[in-house]
Amino acid sequence: MLQSSVRTEQVTLNMGPQHPSTHGVLRLELVLDGEVVVDARPVIGYLHRGVEKIGEARTYPQFLPYTDRIDYLSAASNNGAYVQAVEKLMGVEVPDRAKYLRVIALELNRIASHLVFIATFANDLAATTVFLYAIRERELIMDLFEMWVGARLTQSTFRIGGVTEDIPEEFLPKAREFCALLPKRLEEYDRLLTGNRIFEARTRGVGILPPEVAWDYACSGPTLRGSGVSFDVRRAEPYEAYDQVDFEVVTHPACDCLGRYLVRMGEMRESVRIIAQCVDRLPQGEVRAKVGRVVKPPAGEAYGRVESPRGEFGCYVVSDGGTSPVRVRLRAPSFFHLAALPQMLRGWKMGDVVAILGSIDIVLGEVDR
C-alpha cells in the first residue's frame, strides 16, 4: 500500500574522478535505483599520456623506459612484453642467465603488485592495518631492485637482448631471505584478513563474473582465473625461462571478489617458489646479447605477450626497417577488465561497488596509456 503511493526515480551518481577507491583518476557514472546499481558507465582517459604516439617518435631503446610508466606497479612486465616483441622482430637470442634474471624481476614485481592489491583492497574494505603490513613487505622488494639496478619503482631492468646489468654479489642471499620470509608473512595476512568475517561478508558471492562473460570481454590474469579458468600466458606460451621452472596456475571457481583475492594470495606463494628455483639454478654467463647501439629491426611485425600481475600484457610492434617503430600498440589488461566491470556491478548495492572495483585491481596508467 505504502510502496505504491511513494514515487521513486533512478538517480545518476558520479563516483570519481577523485575518489580514493578508484586508485587514480577514474570516473564511474552509476545509475542507482535506491541503493541498487542499475547500470554503470566507466569514464576513462584522465591519465592519457599518448604513450603509443610517443613510441613512434623514439628509437627502439629510447622507448623502453616509457613502458615502465604504463603499469607503474609492475614495470618489469611492461618491459618484458616490449623487448619480447622487438627481440622477435630482430631474431635475438637472449642468454640463459638473462632469462633467469628476467623471471626473477618479473616475479618480484608480481609479488610487489599483488601486495599493493592486498593493501589497498583491505584498506577499501576498512581493514586499515593490512595496508601497513603489506607495504612493509613490499619495501623489501623495492630494496632488492634498488640494490640491483638503482631504481625502485620504474626500474627498466630489461634491455633489448638481456638485462641492464648483472646482479651484485649480495643480491642472491637477500633474495633467498625474502623467499623464506614472505610465506610466513602471507600466513599473517591470512589470519588478519582471509578468515575475517567482515571481510568475507563484503566479498563472498559479491560481483559475480561468469567465465563465459570473462572470455567475451577478453579478461585475463587473476580476474579470469578467479572465475575458475586455468589460463596463464606463462603456461600457454612460455617465454624467458618459464618452461624450466615448476609452478601451479592458481584458480578459484567462485567467480566473486573473494575468489579473485584468493587467486592473488595463491599466486604470491607460487611466485616465491619460482624465484627460489631461479635463484638456485641461476646459470653463469653473459646477461646481454650483442645488440648494436643502433637498433634497426627488419620490416615486419611482432606481438610480445607476458603474464603481468593483472593479466595478459601485450605489445604489438610494427617496423618498416627504420630506427623507430611505425606503431607500438600496448594491450593493457586493466582496459579489458574495466570494460567488463558494468557486468559485475549490475544488481549490487552502492556499498559493493568499492569492493568489486578493488577486486579487479586496475591501474589507470595502463588503462589510459
Binding site: 582517459g45 592519457h48 572470455w215 567475451d216 570481454y217 577478453a218 606460451e237 611505425v326 600498440r329
Partner: protein, 134 residues
C-alpha cells in the same frame, strides 16, 4: 584453420600466411564479421586485441583472436582508407570489441557501423582530429 578459411572464403581471402603460432589473413570489410564469427565458433573465444596501423597509404585494422586451448592465433587484417573509413562492427561477436573499437575510432577516426555506443574513449569529447594518424 587455414584450409577451413580458404574453403569458406575463396576469393575473398586476400592474403594468408602462417608465422609461428599466428595465422595472418587479410579479408575484405564485408567478410570481417562472418570471419570473426567463424573463428569464434572454432575455438577462438579470446578476442585478445583490436587495433589499427597507419601505413601512410592506407589504414590496416588488426584483429587478434586467440584459441585459449591451443594457443593458436588468427590475426585478421582489413584495409581501410585513411579518412572517412567505415567498417562493420564486431561488437555483436565479441563483447570486448565495444571498447576496443571506441579506441580505434578515437585515435584513428574509423567509424564502426552498427556499434551501439561509438564515442571517444581516451580523449575528451570535444577533441579535434585523430592523433594516431601520421
Amino acid at each position: 584453420m587455414m584450409e577451413l578459411l580458404q574453403k569458406e572464403l575463396g576469393e575473398a581471402l586476400q592474403a594468408c600466411e602462417q608465422v609461428g603460432k599466428e595465422l595472418r589473413i587479410r579479408v575484405t570489410p564485408q567478410q570481417l564479421v562472418p570471419v570473426t564469427r567463424l573463428c569464434k565458433q572454432h575455438g577462438y573465444t579470446y578476442p585478445c586485441d583490436i587495433t589499427a596501423v597507419d601505413m601512410r597509404t592506407e589504414l590496416v585494422l588488426v584483429y587478434r583472436l586467440i584459441a585459449p586451448d591451443s594457443g593458436e592465433q588468427v590475426v585478421v587484417k582489413v584495409g581501410a582508407p585513411r579518412s572517412g573509413a567505415r567498417i562493420p562492427t564486431v561488437s555483436g561477436v565479441y563483447g570486448a570489441a565495444e571498447w576496443l573499437e571506441r579506441e580505434v575510432y578515437d585515435l584513428f577516426g574509423v567509424r564502426f557501423e552498427g556499434h551501439p555506443d561509438l564515442r571517444r574513449i581516451l580523449l575528451t569529447d570535444d577533441w579535434e582530429g585523430h592523433p594516431l594518424l601520421k
